[in-house]
Symmetry: C2
Subunit: 493 residues, 2 copies
């Protein structure tokens, strides 16, 4: 454990981050890319240590955790690619025009880092949304020092990962304070109120996220809060799809909603299904193939237990399969459960059925016709994703459904399941409130944009411009010049 990895106090960590901020802001995109590669390589090298440690603390299993670590280091390297591409800096040059009315000065714009940021790790992705996850990777890529608030669900893994990240950064030449790690809810609340912290990235529960959001908004100088707070990820299944591929869709649904013991932000929590098509029975029949498992934390197990019990005890949803008390609060083990309701129930009292149940539960909501389907979609809240399972013959009738779903989703999935998030240039992981508090989130290339702000230099001498804006383009960056995009030159720094 290096001294920079874990800090005792938020103020100490924030001050150290502030001390590192100038160096990072003045580093070249290439230098920051090297830092990201160094972190990725160090984590890959430590896989044999980190994966068993993660499994001990999360019970997510070696296969899943191996894939997740690969995704995490791939994500770090993606942001190195984003920096190498260079368009993310948005270099824009407009030459002076003394003949304009009024005369136009020379204006040169680019994005610069916001400064130190706070990142809150999630419990359910101990690598990809934790210490070295997407928020950390994108913030370091932007040139922002990171103070990470570790999740209590995997403390030892967090500490080890933080130590590896810090050591790799130090070895690659970054100053102390570039990355540090804190633990404890109080530390997190202090952190987002610290004057040196300029933005916050958060993935977690609605209540925890809203609390931190409110703290950042109440600051004397409010700062951006990029939070992912919860999502029910509605799915629509058409009557034709059930007729053509019912059993396969039912199996796919069970696989998706029970994956990782249902502990995904993208878990399909509510499925609008045609009434009287027998789809409930197909899903119930597929359910025994799904495994239960130990949940991530006692808090999550308790929340799942109580949420399902409330739905069933109050008669809000029928229990189709599983038991309403299939969470063992001693072992935190949960078994899959299947619930159902009618559109009329949903429309009459939407909130209970639309509450995210983090765990292996899913509510099938039966619609009788297109009007009921539309009425159900109308009450859906914002979500990270929506999915449609349909046949080609349905396409002509679905434009209206897709238009309404888009208003409520960040990602729209066709004949597939929302769990599983490929990290690519076009991917993102936002959605209308409460899915996320801001459009750009921790997954995909544009995640970096959250940590930047623009500056514009007017008539500045070349010697005092940052290299990215100098006349001879020493970093070989792509630029928009006089309104036209000029691709990256072949030179490099």
């Amino acid at each position: 454990m290096t001294t920079t990895a874990l800090r005792d106090r938020p103020s100490e960590a924030a001050r150290a981050a502030a001390d590192a901020a100038d160096w990072l802001a003045e580093s070249s995109p290439r230098q920051r890319g090297e830092l990201l590669h160094a972190v990725a390589d160090a984590l890959d090298d430590a896989a044999a240590e980190l994966i068993p440690l993660a499994d001990t603390e999360t019970a997510l299993g070696e296969a899943r955790l191996t894939g997740e670590l690969a995704r995490t280091t791939g994500q770090l390297r993606l942001f190195a690619d984003v920096l190498a591409d260079g368009t993310c800096l948005e270099v824009t040059l407009d030459a002076a025009d003394p003949a304009a009315t009024p005369p136009r000065p020379d204006l040169r714009r680019m994005l610069v880092p916001l400064g130190p940021v706070a990142v809150f790790a999630a419990s359910n992705f101990p690598f990809a949304f934790s210490v070295a996850g997407g928020d950390t990777a994108s913030a370091l890529a932007a040139g922002c020092p990171v103070v990470l608030k570790a999740h209590s669900g995997h403390p030892k893994l967090s500490e080890r990962t933080a130590a590896i990240v810090s050591a790799a950064l130090t070895h690659a030449g970054a100053p102390a304070g570039t990355f540090s790690c804190l633990a404890g809810r109080g530390a997190g609340r202090d952190l987002v109120q610290h004057p040196d912290i300029r933005a916050v990235g958060f993935t977690g529960s609605f209540d925890g996220g809203r609390d931190l959001f409110d703290l950042t908004a109440a600051r004397e100088d409010p700062i951006p809060f990029y939070g992912e707070l919860g999502s029910i990820n509605p799915v629509v299944v058409t009557r034709r799809a059930v007729a053509e591929r019912g059993p396969a869709i039912a199996e796919g649904l069970v696989g998706s909603y029970t994956l990782g013991v249902g502990q995904f932000c993208t878990k399909p929590g509510i499925v609008l299904i045609p009434d009287g098509a027998g789809f409930e029975d197909l899903v119930a029949a597929a359910l025994p193939s799904a495994a239960g498992g130990r949940m991530l934390t006692e808090r999550i197990a308790r929340g799942f237990h109580d949420g399902v019990r409330d739905l069933v005890v109050t008669g809000t949803a029928e229990l189709l399969a599983g038991s309403a008390s299939r969470v063992d609060m001693t072992t935190w083990r949960a078994e899959p459960i299947l619930l159902a309701a009618d559109v009329a129930d949903l429309v009459q009292d939407p909130d209970p059925l639309l509450r995210e149940n983090f765990g292996p539960a899913c509510v099938l909501v039966r619609y009788r016709d297109d009007d009921e389907l539309a009425a159900a979609i109308d009450v859906l809240p914002g979500s990270l994703t929506t999915a449609v399972h349909a046949e080609r013959a349905d396409i002509g009738e679905l434009a209206g459904v897709v238009s309404e779903l888009r208003k409520r989703s960040g990602r729209l999935v066709w004949n597939d399941w929302p769990t599983g998030v490929a990290v690519t240039w076009s991917q993102h992981h936002g959605g209308p409130w409460p899915a996320t508090t801001a459009p750009h989130t921790s997954v995909g290339a544009t995640a970096i944009r959250r940590w930047f702000r623009p500056v514009c230099y007017q008539d500045y001498p070349d010697e005092l411009l940052p290299p990215a804006l100098r006349a001879n383009n020493p970093l070989g960056l792509p630029r928009r010049v006089e309104g036209r995009f000029v691709a990256k030159s072949t030179s490099d720094d």
Copy 2:
């Protein structure tokens, strides 16, 4: 006056905007460009009516108002150019890769409008930051219906401008509700809390902006608040610059801070000057050349009067020229005033000297050496702009000063004055809090980005994709394909 221009109630206006949102969201960039041109042309055609009306209500003078209307219609046309360019939609395509682990789906991303937005007009730019200003232009360009809250400083002009905007939009084929206008502070507060409003643009006072920001943050579903709240726009003048060009710099400063009776967001409010170089005398000598004038509103006149009085009566600043009560509260007429203080005063009690005094006042703060200059910069808050007046011989010594100024500014100006904002691709009008609440603001091409959110389509059939994402690129948009930027094709819709 068409019925869509002025609405009585915020809820009626917001609902009408929501009704128009689908049409706008599905319109092509080219269609929206035509709407913007129609509005610009209609305003230009009405110049002979609008400019005298604006002068009656604001006393800003025909020359200034003629230029401002041209800037405003130019800005509307700039956003039509931004749409024609098309990169603002950020179309990004990643092909499926079944061989990847896990298999990668087809992912297609673009930006879509947030929905109806509220825009708050400012008093000091009755065209460029009012009814048809940058917020309205960029929001319509993005495809967001606009509910405008008019400023009470120019009610008749607002009503006429709104009627012209509405008529032009209707004539160009936009649905009713695309644009409407409200008046009254209570209406504005209701508006930002209305469930159909998805974002807010604001230019105005710190107190008014903070109040609305807090309302948006306290919503059950918080929405983005893009506010410009106030700025003191610090200027640094070097000793060499005074020695070489003192009188010219002094004249430039007086011209800048008294322009428009000092009622610019970018007015230089505090100037760090070398002690003992005689610069105060040069500024005082130039002051009689500057005219006073009627201020925009009684509230602004009162605020200026009280702000200057407080500085002088408390001994916070010395009065170098002008009188501490040079605001006539009957006519709202204010005369220029020049104040001074030492860095020691500023550092000991920064807040009073750093408060924005909206009006023709400027505080010269004397620094004795580089350490005092650094100490003064250290206490400066975020601003829209900073400016440096220096000689080439200073450049080698200024890197640290510029680095610290950048942390506090959105735009950095060299040997020029911050007033006068060219509207170009690289321009912007943001700055660290309290200058603006978010990095991207109402001036410059990226202003459009505030009104968008990303959506990503996974494996969707071509028929259900928006045209921008279809395989044959019917809109001829520039796209990032497999991570590489592909410039606009020659085809068009």
